[in-house]
C-alpha cells in the first residue's frame, strides 16, 4: 500500500522545485559576492557584531570552507530548509482532518500508523530536490569563482543535514496531530524551529547558558566544523535521528488514539 506515499510525493513536487529554485538563486548570488567579500573579510569580520558571528557560527569566513559552512549552511539549510520541513509536515495531518479528506482516507483499509509513515516518507521529494539542486549550484558556483572545495566533504555536509531536517519534520508532524487548526500548526512549527535555532546561537555565546542549547537540534549539526575542520560528528547525527524517531513515535501514538 503506497497510494498515500505516491499522492503525497506528487503534491510535494511543485513546492520542492520552487524552493530549490529560490534557494539556488540565493546561493548563486551569495557565491557571486564571495570573491569581493573574501578580500575584505578581515575588515568585515571585525565590523560584524560578535553576536551575529556567534549566531551564524561564523569562523574563517574569508575561506570558501568557512563561508559555505558559516553562511550557506547556517542560513540556507539550518534556517530556511528547516523551516520548510517543519511547515510542510505541520500541514500533513491536521489539514486532511480539517478538510475531511481524512474521513475518506481512513474509510479505506489503511491503518493510521501507515498514514503517518507514508506522509512523512513523502519528504524524500524535498530532501532529494534540495540536496541535488543546491549541491549542483554550490559545486558549479565554486568552480566558476575559481575556488576549490573538496566535493567529498561537501557531500558529507549535505548528508549530515538530513537528520537535522528530519527533526524539523518531526516537530511539524507532532504539532500536526496535536493541534486542531491548520493555521496554528503551520505557524507554530516553523516558529518553533526558528526559536530553537536562535536559542542555540544565543546560548552558544554565554557559558552559563550553554546547557540550554543542548535541547536545540541545530546544536547537533555544525556545518562549520565539517567544512573547515573536517570533523564529522556522527554521534550527534545519531542523536538527531533518535530524536526524529521519538517525535515520529509520539505523533503516531497520538494520532492513533485521537478522534478525527
Amino acid at each position: 500500500m503506497t497510494a498515500i506515499l505516491r499522492a503525497e510525493s506528487r503534491q510535494l513536487t511543485r513546492s520542492s522545485i520552487v524552493l530549490t529554485g529560490l534557494l539556488g538563486l540565493l546561493l548563486a548570488f551569495v557565491l557571486a559576492v564571495f570573491p569581493g567579500f573574501a578580500e575584505e573579510a578581515e575588515l568585515i569580520e571585525e565590523a560584524f557584531p560578535p553576536v551575529l558571528l556567534g549566531l551564524l557560527g561564523i569562523e574563517e569566513i574569508h575561506t570558501i570552507e568557512g563561508f559555505v559552512g558559516g553562511y550557506v549552511f547556517s542560513i540556507v539549510w539550518l534556517l530556511f530548509a528547516g523551516i520548510y520541513f517543519a511547515y510542510v509536515s505541520a500541514g500533513m495531518i491536521v489539514d486532511d482532518i480539517r478538510t475531511r479528506r481524512m474521513d475518506l482516507l481512513l474509510s479505506t483499509p489503511v491503518s493510521r500508523e501507515s498514514v503517518v509513515l507514508q506522509k512523512v516518507a513523502a519528504l524524500w521529494v524535498p530532501l532529494v530536490a534540495l540536496h541535488v539542486g543546491l549541491f549542483a549550484v554550490l559545486y558549479v558556483g565554486i568552480q566558476v569563482i575559481s575556488e576549490t572545495l573538496d566535493p567529498a566533504t561537501l557531500v558529507l555536509a549535505h548528508l549530515l543535514t538530513v537528520p537535522y531536517l528530519l527533526v524539523c519534520a518531526g516537530i511539524g508532524i507532532v504539532l500536526s496531530v496535536v493541534l486542531e487548526r491548520v493555521e496554528t500548526a503551520q505557524a507554530a512549527a516553523p516558529a518553533l524551529v526558528f526559536v530553537l535555532w536562535l536559542v542555540d546561537g544565543l546560548t552558544h555565546m554565554d557559558q552559563d547558558f550553554e546547557w540550554i542549547g543542548a535541547i536545540t537540534p541545530s546544536r547537533y549539526f555544525d556545518p562549520g566544523a565539517i567544512l573547515v575542520h573536517e570533523e564529522y560528528a556522527f554521534t550527534d547525527a545519531g542523536v538527531l535521528l533518535a530524536a526524529f524517531l521519538v517525535l515520529l513515535a509520539i505523533a503516531i501514538v497520538v494520532f492513533v488514539r485521537r478522534d478525527i
Binding site: D103, S107, D259
Partner: protein, 323 residues
C-alpha cells in the same frame, strides 16, 4: 442466492425476501449500546440496533440528531465513550480487525473531502490504488462527473457523483451512505435510488442516512429513527408509512362541509373558510378518488416534516434543544 425482486410484482417476492431475512444469521452491522459524549453533549446515547445482509437500512433523523456521529463511530474515525459495534464481524474497538474489514466497505461521507487540485480521474486512481476499482467503468456509465477537470471546479452534484463512484467502485459488501442524494438533481436522485435497489437485490447491504423522509420511504426496507442522539424508533418501512401519512392542503370552490369532506384517514384537520389542511394516513389513490367528488381549485400533497412525525407519533415531551 436471493431472487431478483421485480418492482412490478412486489407481493410474492417480498414474502420470500422476508423469509430469507428471518433466517438471516449474523448481522452486517451490530450496534450495541453505542454512546459518544463530547463534554456535556451526548451525540449518541446508548444506540442499539442491527443491520442485516441484503437490506437497505434507512437511518433517519433531523440535522444534528447524531446520524453522522454513528457513522463515524462505525468507521473507527471516532472512538465510543461507551458501548460498541461490529462492522462485518469486526469490533470497532479492534483497530486491526476494523482496518481489514474496511476493504469490503464503501463510504460516501456527507462532506466530501477530495484533494481539490486533482482531476476526477486522478482522485479515482488514488482510491483504486487503495482498494481496487473493478466496477469503475460500469459506475461511470451511470454517474458521470467531469473526470478531466480538477475537483475544485466541480459543482456540488458533480462532487457527489464522484463520491458515489468512489464508494462503489471496489464492489464492497457494505456501503455506508451519509445523506447521499443531497446536491443531486431529481433525475440523478432517481437514478441513485434505482441503483441502490439493484445493489440491494444483488445482495449488498446499504446503510443510508437521510433527513428526508420521502427518500427513506421510497427505497429503504427498514428504518431507524434517531433524535437528539437517541434511537426513538426501529421499524419496517411499511409501518412508518402507515404512521407518517401525507400532508395535504385542499382549496375548494365553496366553503367546506366538514361532515361530508372529512374521512377516517384524515387526522389533524384544520379548516379555514374554503381551505382544508390535514394529514392523510391512507392510500394516495383513495384520497384522489375522494377528492374528485368535490369541486376543487387547488391541491397540494406533500411529505410531512420529520418534526411533525416526531410530534405526532413519538411524542414531543422534550423541547427541541438540538443535538
Amino acid at each position: 442466492m436471493r431472487t431478483q425482486t421485480d418492482a412490478d410484482e412486489p407481493a410474492v417476492e417480498t414474502e420470500s425476501a422476508t423469509e430469507a431475512e428471518s433466517t438471516r444469521e449474523s448481522p452486517v452491522i451490530r450496534i450495541d449500546g453505542l454512546t459518544k459524549r463530547y463534554g456535556d453533549v451526548t451525540a449518541n446515547d446508548d444506540v442499539t440496533f442491527d443491520v442485516y445482509s441484503g437490506e437497505i437500512f434507512g437511518y433517519l433523523g433531523p440535522n444534528g440528531a447524531g446520524k453522522t456521529t454513528t457513522i463515524r463511530l462505525l468507521l473507527g474515525l471516532i472512538k465510543p465513550t461507551a458501548g460498541t459495534a461490529e462492522v462485518l464481524g469486526a469490533d470497532i474497538r479492534d483497530r486491526r480487525a476494523l482496518t481489514e474489514a474496511k476493504s469490503a466497505v464503501g463510504y460516501l461521507p456527507d462532506t466530501l473531502g477530495f484533494e481539490e487540485r486533482l482531476t476526477g480521474r486522478q482522485v479515482l486512481d488514488y482510491f483504486a490504488r487503495m482498494r481496487g476499482d473493478e466496477r469503475r467503468a460500469e459506475l461511470l456509465d451511470l454517474f458521470h462527473p467531469p473526470l478531466e477537470k480538477p475537483v475544485e471546479t466541480y459543482s456540488h452534484g458533480n462532487k457527489r457523483m464522484l463520491g458515489i463512484v468512489q464508494a462503489f467502485m471496489h464492489d464492497p459488501d457494505l456501503i455506508i451512505l451519509d445523506e447521499p442524494t443531497s446536491g443531486l438533481d431529481p433525475l440523478k436522485q432517481d437514478r441513485m435510488h434505482a441503483f441502490l435497489e439493484a445493489e440491494r437485490d444483488a445482495g449488498k447491504t446499504i446503510f443510508f442516512s437521510s433527513h428526508v423522509l420521502s427518500e427513506v420511504q421510497r427505497i429503504c426496507d427498514r428504518v431507524g429513527i434517531i433524535r437528539e442522539g437517541g434511537l426513538v424508533a426501529l421499524e419496517d418501512i411499511d409501518d412508518l408509512l402507515k404512521r407518517s401519512g401525507k400532508q395535504v392542503r385542499v382549496q375548494l370552490a365553496e366553503p367546506v362541509d366538514e361532515a361530508a369532506f372529512v374521512t377516517e384517514e384524515m387526522i389533524d384537520v384544520e379548516t379555514v373558510d374554503r381551505t382544508v389542511r390535514f394529514t392523510y394516513t391512507g392510500e394516495s389513490s383513495a384520497l384522489l378518488e375522494h377528492l374528485v367528488e368535490f369541486e376543487i381549485e387547488d391541491v397540494d400533497i406533500g411529505d410531512p416534516q420529520l418534526d411533525d412525525i416526531f410530534k405526532h407519533y413519538y411524542g414531543d415531551d422534550t423541547s427541541s434543544e438540538g443535538g
